[in-house]
């Protein structure tokens, strides 16, 4: 029996090992982010760096008028991407405009998710009337079209960058609050929370130390979807002339300015359009890869 049985475990072990190696390789393959992540990520990093360093790149200031080069096409001497109808350097305006887009893109979702997180935690944990009140507020807030709210806000508070960030951030509260509430509900009665409560932990401690760490990652994935949305809405606002005020360049504003001259000088509109499209697409693609990664990791952890 023994000599018959002996080879079997051996091949069994080999098979198990082989399967193991295969699983590890597959896992590695999945862990590799791939070009669909790295190409957009490279564009975004380059854009962020260039936008941050814009004033020190030796470009003409974004509002400087070059009388010798009014409305010159891309590739002209001294103006790589050409100039607009006022003779302002488009590359410089593009990079300075990116500062507005990127600031709003990161700040608005952060503000919205921050507030939504607090509301959702409270609603999901305390239930009862807190839940009711938060629910009604969110439904009411959702019922008003976002752009209408923003129109009002920009008329009330004027077009400073921080006000744009804040009012845009308010739009991200409902979804963040709903996700947080649902997640909180599912964790509020788990054993480790009950154990913490039995040990006499305060509500604040349970929320911050037990519940929050578990729900923060799904929310981060959500923030990544919000960044391109915020950039697009800011673009729409500045296209309408309701974002940051005139001398400060913004992509939406550049597209709107170029629209009147689109027949003779289409590059004035098309360059910021392309920049916005590539940036939003990059955030969407990279965000999607990361979101899948989060989902994978969470599944693996379970």
């Amino acid at each position: 029996m023994a000599d018959v049985a002996a080879p079997l475990p051996k091949s069994g072990v080999a098979a198990v090992e082989a399967r193991h190696a295969e699983a590890i390789a597959a896992h590695r393959r999945r862990r590799r982010l791939g070009p669909v992540f790295w190409i957009p990520a490279a564009w975004l990093v380059a854009l962020i760096l260039a936008a941050a360093a814009a004033p020190w790149l030796g470009l003409a200031p974004p509002d400087e008028i070059d009388w010798m080069a009014i409305q010159v096409p891309p590739g002209s001497e001294g103006h790589v991407l050409g100039t607009d109808v006022l003779g302002r350097d488009i590359l410089s305006r593009l990079l300075h405009g990116a500062r507005v887009s990127l600031t709003v893109g990161f700040a608005a979702p952060a503000i919205g998710v921050g507030i939504g997180l607090a509301l959702g935690l409270a609603a999901g944990y305390f239930r009862g009337w807190v839940d009711e009140v938060v629910g009604v507020l969110i439904d009411a807030w959702l019922a008003i079209p976002g752009l209408a709210v923003l129109l009002l806000f920009s008329a009330v508070f004027g077009g400073s960058l921080s006000m744009v960030c804040l009012s845009l951030g308010l739009l991200f509260i409902p979804a963040a609050a709903r996700i947080t509430r649902a997640q909180t509900l599912s964790y509020a009665n788990r054993e480790f929370v009950l154990a913490a409560r039995a040990m006499g932990a305060s509500d604040a401690r349970i929320l911050l130390r037990e519940v929050l760490p578990n729900i923060i990652w799904p929310l981060m994935a959500f923030v990544m979807i919000d960044i391109p949305i915020a950039i697009v809405i800011e673009g729409a606002l500045s296209f309408l002339g309701l974002s940051v005020k005139a001398p400060t360049p913004s992509w939406g504003g550049m597209i709107a300015e170029g629209r009147e001259h689109i027949e003779g000088a289409s590059w004035i509109s098309l360059i910021p359009t392309a920049a916005m499209f590539v940036t939003v697409l990059s955030f969407n693609l990279a965000g999607d890869v990361l979101r899948r990664r989060f989902a994978d990791t969470r599944e693996a952890a379970l």
């Binding site: 009604v136 019922a143 008003i144 129109l151 009002l152 729409a236 296209f239 309408l240 289409s266 359009t273």
Partner: protein, 321 residues
């Protein structure tokens, strides 16, 4: 139907909160309307008189209650600038907005359904990936940018379609549709992606069901299975989404109406914000919110009719497993 009653009650509370938010926002608008109306060289007495006339000297709570009670009995007030009745102004501009949104949804749905069918047929296949990538591109292209490109291509370069303008339906169907094509495309080309993704995901799930396997075993063709057996049970989420998208469409129509010069409610709102026409702003925003809430309420009802499992309305979904 206590569940239905509770929903209607909540609806009323939500709408009440909407009016409060809108009213407070509009009340916070800077600038003295009475001074605006009276003109720069009016005397202080004149300004005070106008203020009393339009009731701006009363406390905020009184003004709010006055406005809301008016809305309840159908009197939406009147513009301080043009003297136009708010309700009449909205109703007059409604057809253009409705047509735009409807056409945009038609564009979106007629792109989403075939695309989702193609994707669900072979998930993760070549077609699925290509469409998925196309959807990413599409969703990264906001409607105002699509509008600019479409105008450049179809109006200015090719000269096929007008860049602005609006003709009422009474001018003839084609005359009416022609200037609406580009605006509807601008909006629809963004909205189809969410519909497509939802439908695709649900359809892939439905295709795992036993009755699909049975249909396949009977030798039914792929196309027939997808269209006849899988489409209806897969479309529930998409229908809910169609309702939810009305909110986004209204937001999108605001900017698209502005670009294409369509005299709709969105344009009315933008003009009113720029001219600080308080009553008109309040009216438009409240109207948008009312429309949104009602559409979603109706979507839920339609959903209950389509899916026999959700009859109870209180969320008895899945009672049959």
């Amino acid at each position: 139907m206590p569940a239905l009653l509770r929903r209607v009650g909540r609806l009323a509370v939500v709408l009440a909160v909407v009016t409060v938010i809108t009213f407070l926002l509009v009340a916070a608008l800077p600038g003295d309307v009475a001074l605006d109306i009276a003109g720069a060289d009016a005397s202080a007495e004149d300004v005070a008189e106008i203020r009393a006339e339009i009731g701006l000297d009363r406390p905020l709570v009184v003004r709010y209650l006055d406005w809301v009670s008016g809305i309840v009995i159908g009197d939406w007030g009147q513009s301080w600038r043009t003297g136009e009745r708010v309700w009449d102004a909205i109703v007059q501009r409604l057809p253009a907005s409705l047509e735009l949104m409807l056409l945009a949804q038609v564009v979106a749905v007629s792109l989403a359904i075939p695309a989702a069918l193609l994707c669900a047929r072979a998930p993760d296949g070549r077609v699925d990936r290509a469409i998925g990538f196309l959807a990413f591109g599409s969703v990264s292209m906001p409607s105002f940018m699509t509008a600019v490109l479409l105008i450049l291509l179809f109006s200015l370069t090719l000269g096929w379609l007008p860049a602005t303008g609006y003709e009422p339906l009474s001018a003839g169907l084609w005359e009416n549709l022609r200037p609406m094509i580009l605006p509807a495309l601008s909006l629809g080309l963004v909205e189809w992606t969410a519909l497509m993704r939802t439908l695709r995901a649900e359809m892939i799930g439905v295709l795992q069901e036993n009755y699909i396997a049975l249909a396949r075993a009977k030798g039914m063709s792929d196309r027939r299975i997808l269209v006849v057996h899988a489409l209806r049970p897969s479309s529930f989420s998409m229908i809910t989404l169609l309702g939810l998208q009305v909110g986004r469409l209204m937001g999108g129509s605001i900017i698209i109406e502005q670009i294409f010069g369509i005299p709709g409610v969105g344009r009315l709102l933008v003009t009113s914000v720029f001219s600080r026409d308080f009553m008109m702003i309040q009216g438009c925003v409240t109207f948008f919110a009312l429309a949104y809430v009602l559409v979603n309420f109706c979507t839920d009802l339609a959903y209950a009719r389509l899916d026999p499992r959700v009859r109870g309305f209180g969320g008895k979904a899945g009672a049959h497993g």
